[in-house]
């Protein structure tokens, strides 16, 4: 039986990569991801993890090394954050289009300028369209579980795609939480050794990353899109299977206190935990409010979202990034477009908040929900409002 113990989440994430038997880790340290890769470097140096650790001079090189490692069929892991993720940007598209199933944890952090090492989702949203499977976790246990699931999902023959696991910088990476690390033998049973179907092999040469002229590019991109859309069923299947094996089951949109609720708040990542406490308090005060926690960001869970909001009047969406000069928060605008064609749909009210590590307290969520309800009744001059900004 696996033991539940107090672990720094970053250390536990590194341990999860070790439990997954990674062959190659290549990373460049950046706050707040540093402890994850430092821990892995230590495990390799101590001989506890039999893997190649490739130190590189930048995140661009880190992702490139991961692409190379995946190409020979190695189980590959990396981690980054913020500017590091941006520096990887062009290679992220290569990893997904060339169908390399690596796992990357992103310690979500705000983008410069001004320099902020603290958490928000502006780094994630900038890589939204890179073709990776993207999962948000709200606590350390989910981070550990989804690193293991991430390999299993990405390596599934029906998927073969890279997976990003998003965990909030500092709010998750640097806290000590009670975490149950699965036993190695159970992880081995859940996650069989990886065999990439078309690796670089001198015995059977293949060409990877060749020119795709106008006559073929459209077909390649369509194949990629259909493949990512279909991956959703595999994600759900593997989460179920993980639940059977380890007793913790995940879903693309988790509902909390939604019974009879006419108003729902939607959050992602670690802030969902504070939001749950706020919902409990408001329920105690007799208010019919509930919470949706969006876990699967790509492929986007359209059916589950539509089902979850079909009977409600107001959906309040918290974004932790701004689409400057655009429609407000990227999550809110996607949700609006996902519901646009529905005959009966709730009013969708967008807030941006929690930028650059700004805390949203329990009372803050309560205030945001009350303001959302007010906007739904009276309207707002703006497409979205920003929570907690000083005049």
């Amino acid at each position: 039986m696996a033991k539940r113990e107090g672990l720094e989440v970053s250390v536990a994430v590194g341990d999860a990569a070790m439990l997954s038997d990674v062959d190659v880790v290549s990373a460049y340290p950046i706050t707040p991801q540093t402890h994850i890769v430092e821990h892995l470097a230590e495990l390799v140096a101590n001989g506890e993890l039999n893997a190649a650790y490739i130190p590189v001079e930048s995140e661009h090189s880190a992702m490139s090394a991961c692409v190379g490692a995946s190409a020979v069929g190695a189980r590959t892991f990396t981690a980054t954050a913020a500017q590091g993720l941006e520096l990887m940007h062009e290679v992220l598209y290569v990893a997904s289009a060339m169908r390399y199933p690596m796992v990357m944890t992103v310690a979500n952090r705000a983008l410069s300028a001004p320099i902020s090492i603290w958490g928000d989702h502006s780094d994630v949203m900038a890589v939204r369209d890179t073709g990776w499977i993207q999962i948000f976790v709200e606590n350390g246990q989910e981070a550990v579980d989804n690193v293991i699931c991430g390999f299993r999902i990405g390596e599934d023959k029906r998927v073969l795609l890279p997976v990003m696991v998003h965990l909030d910088g500092f709010a998750l990476t640097h806290v000590i939480e009670p975490i149950e690390l699965p036993e190695k033998k159970d992880v081995d049973r859940f996650l069989p050794p990886f065999k990439y179907p078309l690796p670089l092999d001198p015995e059977k040469p293949v060409t990877m990353g060749s020119l795709g002229s106008p006559f073929i590019y459209t077909e390649v991109k369509w194949a990629q899109e259909i493949n990512l859309e279909k991956a959703k069923d595999v994600v759900l299947e593997i989460w179920q299977e993980f639940g059977k094996a380890f007793g913790r089951t995940y879903s693309p949109i988790e509902q909390y206190q939604t019974d009879g609720a006419k108003v729902l708040l939607l959050t992602m990542g670690s802030y969902s935990e504070t939001a749950m406490v706020a919902i409990d308090k408001m329920r105690g005060d007799g208010k019919e409010v509930g919470l949706l926690k969006l876990r699967l960001w790509r492929p986007f869970p359209y059916e589950e979202l539509r089902e979850a909001v079909k009977d409600i009047d107001v959906l309040i969406v918290l974004d932790r990034a701004v689409s400057f000069g655009g429609p407000g928060g990227p999550v809110c605008s996607e949700i609006k477009s996902a519901l646009y064609a529905e005959k009966k749909r709730p009013q969708v009210i967008g807030f941006v908040g929690g930028l650059g590590g700004r805390d949203i307290s329990m009372a803050g969520f309560e205030e945001m929900i009350e303001r959302g309800i007010e906007i739904a009744r009276t309207g707002s001059e703006r497409e979205f409002e920003i929570y907690g900004v000083r005049e």
Binding site: M98, L198, V206, M208, S210, S213, F215, I216, E219
Partner: protein, 107 residues
């Protein structure tokens, strides 16, 4: 010297005409020499037209063609394979007898 013969070339399967379901994982190329299957001929806006009455079979077009798509036909004249010819016009420029004229590719 052995020269390629136009009539012996088999008509290639056009890789560029594959449907999206037929594409290999990651758009990888699993067999060497697959450029044989790529219809580069659809890049051209002008194609070479030959006047065999002027042609002296001097071979200059054959040697200058950067695509290597010109081969000897059964009568000993040199002809481009329009499946590959990109329409660069080098053959027409180099032909000492003005036997090759570049004409607009009408579709």
């Amino acid at each position: 010297m052995k020269m390629a013969k136009a009539e012996t070339k088999k008509k290639p399967r056009a890789k560029g005409e594959l449907g999206w379901k037929e594409i290999e994982l990651g758009c990888f190329i699993t067999e060497p020499g697959n450029s044989d299957e790529v219809r580069t001929g659809d890049w051209k806006s002008r194609r070479p037209e030959l006047d065999f009455n002027k042609c002296t079979k001097c071979t200059l077009c054959y040697f200058f063609c950067p695509e290597g798509c010109i081969a000897k036909n059964k009568d000993g004249y040199f002809e481009p394979d329009l499946f590959y010819c990109k329409g660069c016009g080098i053959c027409a420029t180099e032909c000492p007898k003005d036997a090759i004229t570049m004409v607009e590719e009408a579709k």
